[in-house]
């Protein structure tokens, strides 16, 4: 609907009908010859209401510019750049009779030049309602080539330049739009993160040469051309933790790594964002951030122990190769204190103590999940403080059995005297013994419960495992109850902070008491980790799906934080995430073994081994690649210095609002500033 209105607003009178002063209007203002931005014509001669019918009237230049504002996708708006500077077309185009052609897209200089010089122009032609047949006949006339109906009333054709105006003036034609070459998504995201300029040229000289990028993920398609330099693989080490197999560079060159395929496709996509070289894309536009870096890959079971092992293995390899190293972890969970105190997180901190090492972690995709509930209990209130959070479990298949299962951790301050109790749907109460474990079984459900004092933080954690039959009333009606204990010798509430997490949103969610904060989970809460949120830079791309040439998500607001991006801070109030980067949607390398279930056809690009995915998983490798570029320049930089640079170099705008905040962290990654700044 919105798209239709946009098109209607760009319908213009034929030049012949226009006063001379309007013909010479500010239709083509050339502000930057390298970047052609939208809108070849002035809107100054008319105003189009939402109905699409034209009404008479003249607006001034300022009004025209203001009117243009709502025609533009936010992707075209750059912070600090006046919208009056939208039209930037080489002067040669000024003579083209393109008066009814809308170019609502970023187009490259070469596209504009082609339009200016070619005899025929590829166009999309939209018919007025129920005039499709008339337009079809119109386009069937001699001289018009390659006519194809895309959908009822919408045609693609190559039209002689001199006949464009006549075509646009025909009463049966609603709209004519020039077909232009769009920038690939990855490149658009690169523009947003200040890696490449609008003309597609990189803003930075570094490519990550001499730096090792580690990826602990679902594996990699080692045969993908984006990870090869001519006949030499750029992957120097590929460990499959599931089978135990290790492939060195020679084994990969010999093709042995196909025994450990990336059937999920996640790891291959992540690696392409961080370090793909853009093979099989025009002018390597699908290249990642650090296309000159070496790669070390660990295909992981994703258990915390295997992740720690994989990170240590890659850093040991980097030490042997005498290379600085940054490792990407596009993964996480919700077991633990969400305060950086898990052993995995402290292991990451330990490993990053050496200079020239960094770990980048995705913030998580639980921005809309109801897996966290929290409160702050009153201190010294007349009645004992009390809080309840209700839980609804989801039926799920575990080991081929449909069950209801949830694992819940409740974290309270060491100073507080609180009783944490689980209430079942039939009203039974379960409280674990202090610093001990208990298990209770019933006909319809079983409860496992533990109380312990966390060694590192000293805080108290009470855990409940609920295992139930997957039918009503046993899936809903569970509650966590926290009560102040003022029995003899106890102080009751002193701090009062209570946080509860359900380990995974597939297990269920809180139906009351939930809070959309503190959703960055381990290992993203590690002190040394650079934790990355995601924002939107793309909402459509060409699709391999036979029924639809383009996959579109029109509701996505470009430049805005992704709805799924997990907000911080940590349970102890530290700033996480650290930074935001493009993550919704990103085009990157596609594993040839990725299943259609995980990456369906509408996410796959036609004629190239690339696909679009979204997630903070896609945002993290942007930062990983950026750190690799920094390591090329400063190979012995410490993670704390890297973070200082990040904080000082991020871009803030009206989307991010003042930073730090719990969604955006310190703001949007700006790679050019990140490399140049000296905080």
């Amino acid at each position: 609907m919105k798209r239709r209105r946009q098109r209607a607003k760009t319908r213009f009178k034929p030049l012949a009908d226009m006063p001379i002063r309007d013909r010479k209007s500010e239709a083509f203002r050339c502000l930057d010859a390298r970047l052609a931005r939208v809108a070849l014509v002035s809107e100054s001669a008319r105003e189009i209401p939402p109905s699409g019918r034209r009404v008479a009237g003249t607006r001034g230049r300022g009004a025209a510019s203001a009117g243009r504002r709502d025609l533009l996708a936010p992707a075209m708006q750059r912070p600090g750049q006046a919208l009056e500077g939208l039209i930037a077309v080489p002067a040669t185009l000024r003579d083209l009779p393109l008066t009814r052609l809308g170019l609502l897209a970023l187009v490259s200089e070469s596209s504009v030049r082609r339009l200016a010089t070619c005899d025929r122009v590829s166009v999309l032609v939209e018919a007025e309602p129920s005039r499709a047949d008339a337009v079809g006949h119109l386009l069937a006339r001699p001289g018009i080539e390659r006519v194809r109906a895309v959908s009822p009333g919408l045609f693609i054709a190559r039209v002689p330049r001199g006949r464009l105006e006549g075509l646009a003036a025909n009463a049966a034609v609603r709209f004519v739009e020039a077909s232009v070459r769009l920038r690939s998504h990855c490149e658009l995201a690169h523009v947003r993160s200040d890696l490449v300029a609008a003309d597609g040229k990189r803003r930075v000289a570094e490519t990550g040469k001499g730096v090792l990028i580690g990826i602990v993920d679902s594996g990699i398609d080692a045969s993908h051309p984006a990870f090869w330099n001519a006949r030499t693989p750029r992957i120097v080490h590929y460990r499959d933790q599931v089978t135990g197999d290790l492939y060195d560079q020679a084994a990969i060159a010999a093709g042995h790594a196909k025994r450990s395929p990336d059937t999920y496709g996640h790891g291959t996509h992540v690696a392409g964002i961080a370090a793909g070289n853009g093979a099989k894309t025009p002018n390597a536009r699908g290249a990642g951030v650090a296309p000159g870096a070496d790669l070390a890959i660990v295909k992981s079971s994703l258990s915390t122990a295997d992740i720690a092992d994989g990170v240590a293995e890659i850093f040991e390899l980097a030490a042997q190769r005498k290379q600085p190293c940054v490792i990407n972890l596009s993964l996480g969970g919700h077991a633990g204190g969400h305060d950086g105190s898990s052993i995995l997180e402290r292991a990451i901190d330990t490993l990053c103590e050496e200079r020239g090492r960094a770990v980048v972690v995705s913030a998580g995709n639980e921005g809309m999940a109801r897996i966290h509930a929290s409160t702050v209990l009153d201190c010294g209130s007349p009645k004992p403080a009390h809080w309840t959070a209700d839980i609804e479990l989801k039926a799920q298949i575990i080991e081929n059995t449909l069950v209801g299962f949830a694992w819940i951790e409740v974290w309270t301050a060491n100073e507080d005297n609180l009783r944490v109790t689980l209430r079942s749907p039939n009203g039974e109460l379960f409280t674990p013994p202090r610093k001990a474990r208990d298990e209770q079984g019933r006909d319809q459900f079983a409860v496992e419960m533990t109380h312990q004092v966390a060694h590192y933080s000293g805080d108290q954690v009470t855990s409940f495992g609920i295992h139930t039959v997957p039918q009503a009333p046993w899936l809903s009606g569970w509650s966590i109850m926290v009560e102040e204990d003022r029995s003899a010798g106890k102080n009751g509430v002193e701090v009062g902070a209570v946080h509860a997490w359900i380990q995974d949103e597939q297990m269920g969610g809180f139906t009351n008491g939930f809070a959309r904060s503190h959703l960055v989970g381990p290992p993203g809460t590690a002190a040394a980790a650079i934790t990355v949120a995601a924002y939107a830079t793309r909402r459509e791309w060409p699709s391999r799906e036979p029924q639809s040439a383009t996959t579109t998500f029109p509701a996505i607001k470009l430049d805005e934080i992704a709805y799924f991006s997990s907000p911080g801070p940590t349970r102890t109030g530290h700033n996480k995430p650290d930074v935001a980067a493009p993550g919704q949607w990103i085009v990157s390398t596609l594993s040839s073994k990725a299943s259609a279930e995980t990456i369906p056809d509408n996410l796959r690009l036609p004629n190239a081994p690339y696909a679009a995915l979204a997630g903070t998983s896609m945002a993290a490798p942007y930062v990983t690649g950026a750190v690799a570029l920094l390591f090329e320049r400063h190979p012995t930089m410490h993670w704390a210095e890297i973070k200082r640079r990040l904080v000082a170099s991020t871009r803030k705008d009206h989307f991010s609002r003042p930073c730090w905040n719990d969604r955006w962290g310190n703001g949007k990654l700006s790679i050019e500033r990140f490399l140049a700044i000296e905080p």
């Binding site: 993920d217 679902s218 999920y264 996640h266 079971s301 994703l302 258990s303 915390t304 122990a305 295997d306 992740i307 720690a308 092992d309 240590a312 293995e313 596009s330 993964l331 996480g332 969970g333 077991a335 633990g336 898990s342 052993i343 995995l344 402290r346 292991a347 330990t350 490993l351 995705s362 913030a363 998580g364 995709n365 575990i398 080991e399 059995t401 069950v403 299962f405 694992w407 079983a446 496992e448 060694h455 590192y456 495992g465 295992h467 380990q503 995974d504 381990p522 290992p523 997630g615 903070t616 998983s617 993290a620």
Partner: protein
Amino acid sequence: MSESRKSFGRSQKPGGVLDVLIALDREPDDAWLRELKDAVALHVRRIIGDKLVATIDQRHLEKLRTTPGVREVEVATTTRLH
């Protein structure tokens, strides 16, 4: 029911073997580590400063927790790709 409950969300290998992360009071020396391995049949996969990545038969888990020099033991949990 009990077995699936215990294994879900925990990294458990066949035969009741658990992946664990261990925090120690200090960086281990070879002799101490050998004793620990013998005492609880621990298979140490990696040493990261004063932390270990290891596998252990779950029957020895409580003994490992109470071994002098062992500060914390975390049974590995599963994570999810983002």
